[in-house]
Amino acid sequence: MNAVRIFVITGTSRGIGRGLAACFLKRGDVVCGCSRKPATIKHKNYRHSLLDVADEKAVVKMIRGVVAEYGRVDVLLNNAGIAAMNHALLTPAAVARSIFATNFHGTFLFCREATKAMLRRKTGRIVNFATVATPLRLEGEAIYAASKAAVESFTQILARELGQTGITVNAVGPTPVPTDLIKSVPRAKMDALLARQSIPRFGSIEDIVNVLDFFLAPQSDFITGQVIYLGGVTG
């Protein structure tokens, strides 16, 4: 992999995605980000696409644009995600569809298109974003956890399908990180969730970057189809 890596990171306007983009830009990498909202990052090595990750044509256009400008995609981080805490019986079908569209279909489309670019160079790293909500079977997060369970399953099968291509596909499952995604969750609920982790604290961007560094390292070319949860949560 080249010294300056070309990253595609989804959901970079806020939260974890914004933090990851800032981290890799600081290290000298190029970051091509996207979100439904305008860019919140200004940096000479940052490119932003205004799009919905579930919009097939927009995703194709973005990845082709990255390849046209930089000649390759080295790393894809499928971070974009939405959640809506609610009892399953009180969840409108439109909300469930929207969560699956962003969390699963978006991940699938970016994987498909980035992989096409990576295949040409027989190398690449894809990291999808899972959640501890799936193994913890969190009440009130049935749809969110189910959408991320789909991401995990997809990650593991795609890893097998790409096993001979030089492209690895893994997932990181963060614990709650203090971002907009969880700001509406009651404190008591959050404390109860953290108590179910082996290490009961919020995660940080640095905790996630630590796992990403492992997956992205050149020496990790024999690591694929894995899901690593933070906080000591086990699958």
Partner: protein, 94 residues
């Protein structure tokens, strides 16, 4: 089929043939995928990814070959050079 499409069909056919691994054509004629096809599924994925990029370069169109249209057909549009070329022209004409 109008004159413009006919020109496109020849151009597309040439592009398909250029993008296919040449050893493939020599060994298996023009059957790309399926029974007696030259490519296995991973080779096909590689080939179609290459072809999408080349179509984009030559025609300036961002098409996705594995479309719903392709998947719903009784006969795979990826079967042989002529079928695939015709299918690409169809997508380019949309």
């Amino acid at each position: 089929m109008n004159a413009r499409t006919q020109v496109s069909l020849k151009k597309v056919r040439d592009l398909v043939v250029e993008t296919l691994p040449q050893s493939t054509l020599k060994s298996k004629g023009e059957i790309i995928f399926g029974p007696d096809g030259a490519l296995d599924s991973l080779d096909l994925v590689n080939f179609l990814a290459d072809l999408e990029y080349r179509i984009d370069q030559v025609f300036g169109c961002e098409i996705v070959l594995a479309s719903e249209k392709a998947m719903s057909r009784n006969r795979s549009p990826f079967r042989d050079v002529d079928t695939l070329s015709g299918y690409v022209v169809e997508l380019l004409s949309e």
